[in-house]
């Protein structure tokens, strides 16, 4: 189901069945869930009966069925929400149970079910190229993938907010805002509030590029390789900080482990080439590597002996094996950073 189809349903007040909200843009999930709540939950006094909210990685299908079959209290409809479920590893039995939920809702049309899933719960892919699990789920429920919006859409959305507040924006100002603040709609919404307050306080009617630069905070987006950069630079405190950022952003620790292993593996190759007498300028060509990347590797490789890199690579291999045997990969990475730091010089 496309976001536009959900919008049409809401406009026509024809919400019904089972929905799955997934994808990267949490702001839109919250927005559309709010719209559905406004439509169905008309009296907060009866929320205890008409608005059961569940949270958990494993869906309790029996509890869900109970909530669906209980009729609404003093209202035409009830809304059942489940957040935090992990859909990625669903088995055939879970898909069958989900199909049963859809049938139960069909028999109890006053009940509407909405599953809200974060990126840790499933990889939805993109609207153009949905993931396998999304495709399978979309065959059972009304699944909407809320992708990160494009620059065009974000600019139009920001403009609508600015106009709604009685202001306008000069050409390029809203694009500059996206460039500066990033693509998160949550961040952009709060930055827009700041701009509106500033403009009103100063009697301005037009948001300019200068206003954006003065008022909006710059946001570094998704520093996916900050940890490997810090390891390469021998910046251990920085590496721990970047690891914390990755954990906070719920990046899969195995992905982090893969990045670190790749870095060390590249450094072993560069270090060996340098030891064999390859000139620094010849490393990029010898490894078929980007010139800038090779330069950084050459700088870093000069700080350790090849056997030290080999020892670190052996530790990466051990970390990989231990993680696959069930050890916590995060602890493995923390230990690795400590070792790499202790082993930092000739």
């Amino acid at each position: 189901m496309l976001q536009s189809e959900l919008k049409t349903q809401l406009k026509a007040k024809k919400i019904g069945g089972v929905y799955l909200f997934c994808g990267e843009e949490d702001y839109l999930k919250r927005y559309y869930l709010g719209q559905i709540r406004n439509l169905i939950l008309t009296d907060p006094v009866f929320d205890a009966f008409n608005h059961p909210v569940f949270h958990g990685e494993q869906i309790d299908f029996a509890a869900l069925a109970d909530a669906i079959t209980a009729p609404p209290m003093m209202a035409d409809g009830k809304l059942i929400e489940w957040s935090g479920a992990i859909f990625e590893d669903m088995k055939d039995a879970d898909f069958a149970a989900l199909e049963a939920v859809v049938r139960t809702v069909g028999e109890n049309p006053a009940s509407v079910v909405v599953f809200v899933v974060g990126t840790e719960g499933m990889d939805a892919g993109s609207v153009k190229r949905p993931s396998t699990v999304f495709k399978r789920l979309a065959g059972i429920v009304q699944a909407v993938n809320f992708e990160t919006s494009t620059d065009d859409r974000l600019a139009a959305w920001l403009n609508a907010h600015i106009v709604h507040e009685g202001l306008d924006a000069e050409a390029g100002a809203l694009r500059a805002m996206i460039d500066r603040c990033g693509h998160s709609m949550d961040v952009l919404a709060s930055e827009t509030e700041k701009i509106v307050c500033y403009a009103r306080a100063h009697g301005m009617r037009t948001v300019t590029r200068e206003t954006v630069e003065l008022v909006c905070s710059p946001t570094a987006e998704d520093d996916a390789f900050g940890l490997t950069n810090a390891v390469l630079a021998g910046d251990t405190p920085g590496a721990y900080r970047k690891l914390s950022d990755l954990v906070r952003r719920r990046v899969d620790p195995m992905v982090v482990l893969g990045q670190v292993s790749r870095l060390i593996s590249d450094l072993v190759s560069v270090s060996c080439l340098l030891e064999e007498g390859t000139p620094p300028t010849g490393v990029a060509a010898a490894l078929g590597m980007n010139e800038y990347k090779a330069k950084l590797y050459v700088q870093s490789a000069g700080k350790r002996r090849p056997e030290q890199f080999r020892a670190l690579l052996a530790q990466c291999r051990e970390m990989d094996l231990a993680s696959k045997r069930g050890a916590d990969p995060l602890i493995q990475i923390e230990r690795f950073l400590a070792t790499a730091s202790a082993d930092g010089g000739r």
């Binding site: 050409a171 390029g172 694009r175 460039d179 520093d223 996916a224 390789f225 900050g226 490997t228 950069n229 390469l232 990045q259 670190v260 790749r262 870095l263 590249d266 990029a284 078929g288 590597m289 980007n290 800038y292 990347k293 330069k295 950084l296």
Partner: protein, 136 residues
């Protein structure tokens, strides 16, 4: 979208060094509207492929690259921007100053010319990049 042949020629001059010319040619697609031009093409690079998305709008050229090398550079005459050049597993900070960005009139297709200087890891280089898309 119209199928096009994309040719890019970059003359790169490091502060301390001789100019080097890097040229390439690939198939791509071009969409033209009264408000903007969108050019897309994929180029092979060391370690994989890069999907390029080039947008011209209001005198501003945005070059968005994704893949084995990722970056998003907004070329606006007279402006300096910070760019994250991502080459997994590293991201390399870069500063780009646009001296001039022009839409080139060509007989059949479209073209852009950008004069800019960039600083990576303390090394500065000046680049004259010309991109021309000709219908196939």
């Amino acid at each position: 979208m119209e199928r096009v042949q994309v040719r890019r020629v970059s003359v790169i001059t490091p502060d301390a060094g001789e100019p080097e010319t890097v040229a390439g040619e690939w198939e791509g697609a071009l969409r033209t509207t009264p408000a903007e031009l969108l050019l897309t093409f994929t180029e092979p690079v060391e370690g994989g492929k890069v999907f390029n998305r080039v947008i011209w709008r209001d005198g501003i050229l945005t070059v968005d690259r994704r893949g084995a090398v990722s970056s998003r550079i907004v070329f606006r005459t007279g402006e300096t921007v910070g760019v994250d050049l991502t080459i997994p597993p590293l991201s390399i900070p870069m500063t780009v100053t646009t001296e001039e960005v022009l839409l080139l009139p060509t007989p059949n297709g479209v073209g852009f010319r950008v004069l800019f200087s960039s600083v990576i890891s303390g090394e500065r280089r000046r680049t004259e990049m010309t991109v021309v898309a000709t219908p196939v």
